[in-house]
């Protein structure tokens, strides 16, 4: 597997990276490389240049301050999965990151690369959606923020502009009474999610549900939020029956099928996996 010829840049700052990206419209940003390099080896992607942001220190930290968790774009899945700070403030993200690929992939792949690549079957997009993550991006005109719900536009398409780089992911730290779960039904070949469900529920003092979200990977062209199902749980006692009844109405728009699993089957999987994620989140709340 031999990629086409490309130039290689290794900027030492975000500003420099953005500048090179602006100057090279055909360039691709290289972080962990575990999505980009395989498609280059198959010559499905033939970028004129790679901009390796893997050595930019500013993109590497995990911090928590003022109720907010901040994760640099080049933090690896392995670091996220095993970070005590992430496990405490956003356990859903740690759980999803720990289920990506295999050990080698988790040591190289990064959160920024994952979300920017926007593979709908990858594990982090649904978690980012369910956690209401804010994504910070830098471009030639400075920085801006995008909510996860506005970030995923279509199949492997985000609202990032061609000259912008995702730099940081910000998540509000989980409050008391909140439980979450990421449950994945794995495609036996790729290990990607045939259906992955990210659930977050919050219980009030009396035990009834005061907030819920349920998002899916793998079922349609982007990670999607099942807002209706989540909303119908608010006020309920989160019993198995309440969850069953809520997911029975689940219908994911534009569900997509492939040779392994049809769209209809993925809809049914989403019900089963979604209910399982909600039950587990409830038990953890």
């Amino acid at each position: 597997m031999f990629p086409s010829k490309f130039d290689y840049h290794r900027p030492s700052s975000v500003q420099e990276a953005v500048q090179i990206l602006s100057d090279n419209p055909d360039a691709k940003v290289l972080a962990g490389g575990h999505s980009l390099i395989p498609v280059m080896k198959l010559r499905l992607a033939t970028p004129s240049a790679l901009i390796d942001i893997g050595r930019i220190d500013a993109l590497k930290g995990i911090s928590r301050a003022n109720g907010s968790l901040r994760i640099g774009a080049c933090v690896t899945y392995n670091e996220i999965a095993n970070s005590g700070v992430v496990q405490d403030a956003a356990p859903l993200l740690a759980e999803a990151a720990g289920q990506i690929g295999d050990r080698q992939v988790r040591y190289r792949g990064t959160i920024g690369g994952n979300l920017s690549h926007a593979d709908p079957a990858s594990d982090l997009p649904a978690a980012a959606l369910a956690l209401g993550a804010t994504l910070h991006v830098s471009g030639p005109n400075g920085s801006r923020s995008v909510s996860a719900s506005e970030f995923f536009v279509d199949l492997m398409m985000t609202s990032l502009q061609a000259d912008e780089i995702l730099t940081e992911v910000e998540i509000s730290a989980a409050s008391a009474g909140t439980g979450s779960a990421y449950v994945k039904f794995e495609h036996p070949a790729s290990g990607y999610a045939l259906c992955g469900a990210a659930a977050v529920v919050t219980r009030g003092a009396g035990g009834s549900c005061t907030g819920a979200s349920l998002c899916f990977n793998g079922v349609s062209a982007t990670a999607v939020s099942a807002n209706g199902v989540a909303a119908s749980l608010v006020g309920s006692d989160l019993s198995d029956g309440a969850i069953e009844s809520a997911v029975s109405n689940l219908s994911i728009p534009d569900a997509a099928g492939d040779m392994f699993a049809s769209a209809g089957y993925r809809q049914e999987l989403a019900k089963a996996i979604g209910a399982q994620a909600l039950r587990t989140a409830r038990d953890r709340a």
Binding site: L42, A189, M259, E268
Partner: protein, 785 residues
Amino acid sequence: MAGESNGAAGFGSSIRRREDPELITGRAKYTDDLQLAGMVYCTILRSDYAHAGINSIDTSEAEALDGVLGVYTAKDIEASGVPGGVPVGWLLPGLKTPEHYMLAKDTTRYVGDGVAIVVAEDQYTAHDALELIYVDYEPRDGVADPKKATADGAPLVHDDAPNNIAFDWEIGDKESTDAAFANAAHVASLDIVNNRLIPNAMEPRAALADYNNITGELVLYMTTQNPHIHRLLMSLASLGLPEHKIRVIAPEVGGGFGSKIHHYADEAIASWASMQVGRPVKWTATRTETYITDAHGRDHVTHGEMAIDADGRFIGLRVDTYAAMGAYLSTFAPAVPTYLYGTLMSGEYDLPAIYCHVYGVFTHTVPVDAYRGAGRPEATFIVERLVDEAARVTGLDPAEIRRRNFISPDAFPYQTQVALAYDSGNYIGALDKALEAIGYDDFRKEQAAAREQGKYLGLGLSTYIEACGLAPSAVVGSLGAQAGQWESAVVRVHATGKVTVYSGCSGHGQGHETTFAQIVASALGVPYDDIDVVEGDTGSMPHGWGTYGSRSAATGGSAIASAAEKVVDKARTIAAHLLEAAEEDIEFEDGNFFVKGSPDQSQSLPDVALQAYLAHNLPKGIEPALEATSFYDPANFVYPFGTHIAIVEVCSQTGNVTLQRYLAVDDVGNVINPMIVDGQVHGGIAQGIGQSLYETAVYDEGANLLSGTMLDYAVPKAHFMPSFETDRTVTPCPHNPLGVKGVGEAGSIASPAAVVNAVVDALSPFGVTHIDMPVTSEKVWNAMK
């Protein structure tokens, strides 16, 4: 000798594989690791169309690229005057053998068919140049399904094979079988697709060809399971070089599963390219190329029926199969769905009437050939599925109906209705052992209780037989093989008593360097560490036929045993002379020769070896040195058998199948190294589980391969597997000197039926009687609806 344990590392010992330290630490050298001075690289442009005419090929831009040494098409190969063929090595009566040339001439017949060759200074340039070759294709319709391909009007793969039929083959007795069905109290009937598989050896195929245009000699390092077969076919059919001017060497080979038996165009192309540019040429398949060039396996569409009398006894079996051959006949392809398939239809059962009919069918796909098990997994699957269906239609327990129909242990040798004569077996013994180990009666209670709770458990039995170590050569030849099936060995005792063993087998993961040394350690009484085993070099050893079909222990191991016996005989003669005693009074024990009753006065084998080499004092008429060669042609196939049991749980919400337990009781005869045998069983089971639950090569209606990468083709992963439970019974092979059978394919032959029988058992409350492989969660979920 068989079964003896001579020292800690002799026959029967679970010593660790001596191959592993180099393999695990990355020190081992595979073909692609080799570098020769002046080496250049070759790539092959492949058809993106399943079926297309080639109007023209423009190579000028590719030729102009810096670093490109040459770009060639079929016309250039023709102009060079070499034969250029890729032959089939097994002929059946009436077999259609359309021309298979090293590159497509005017028509491409599958996605992957070679169209042009680039030779360049480096691999990147060689790949870049492929994109600069412009082929004017005229796309045509293709067909991938072997049954649909026989329909009138289906696109033809070869104009001279009407209805795409390569051969029309039958075995058994149609009349008596039809009569059995006319008298049957019950009939079990199933339509089955045996899914097409892609081999996925860990190491892709590769070749490094070094042609010396002064001596006319070609040294070809390649990924092969049988270097002598490749040398023969390179010489006769592809390159036209004299056989003695070709040396084929197999460096370390990283798995094959059959895919490295076959003679493909690619290694011949690298060799031909070296002849053109006068430099060593390396070709290494990308993983994408392995998917579209390595011969695939299975791909049958079958209707099978079992006739059963009122007492639950099988009285007839009828099988009708459409077996894909792919676009061309691969090396041993015609044998796989015929003599390795129809002959296995009796299974472990006393079946008085059998009829099996097979169409071999050309399709616009990668050629199909032997893949771990080769015909026998397909046969076992149809037989064992029908046996379970027979249990269902008669209301008998699946274990009971097997018990009622097994060939009895005292009925051997047993002549089946489909040519094979089973030499030995004890099928009830293996079944009983497996049922007891799994706790069969308790499981049935647990299963019933679980169903009450809405939990669906299933148990599947597969009581399999396999025939491996094809032999004798005269019989194999009468069936159409253009090859012998004996095996060679040289046992050379050096002057110091150290031993080098040369085998005509060619291991690629089986552990021959360990197990063959164990055989010799016991035979000669020489320490295991003093014995080396050499394989895989046509320049170093006598002709051999290689490693496939679970043949190496039974044929190659037996050849080594008989060569070792010749060495002992000669050494005994010399020892008698040295001990001044009559030869018949000499005993041989633990590597020492001594006169009966006087073990303290002895000559060790190294003592004798030294005298044999010095040749100062040899008996009259005895030649110097101490070595022997054996060419061993077995009397019969060997017949391993056993019982495999799978227990599955089916998730009623998602249809997901989880393997809870997998238990195998195999009878492979005497065991040389129990750990290696367990490893072979584990690997085979994993591959069979892969076929039954995960793997399938998917072609669309136009014969485009959809499952062309590992993102879509599900090679099973370790965490999908339960911890296997293995056990054995031992029924030694009665006709070879070691009493060994074969084990490489047993797991992949037995396990698909065990798994699918278990899933169907779990789903019986839903009225399910069959699910085709791979049993994906969606298929199960649909079946439960």
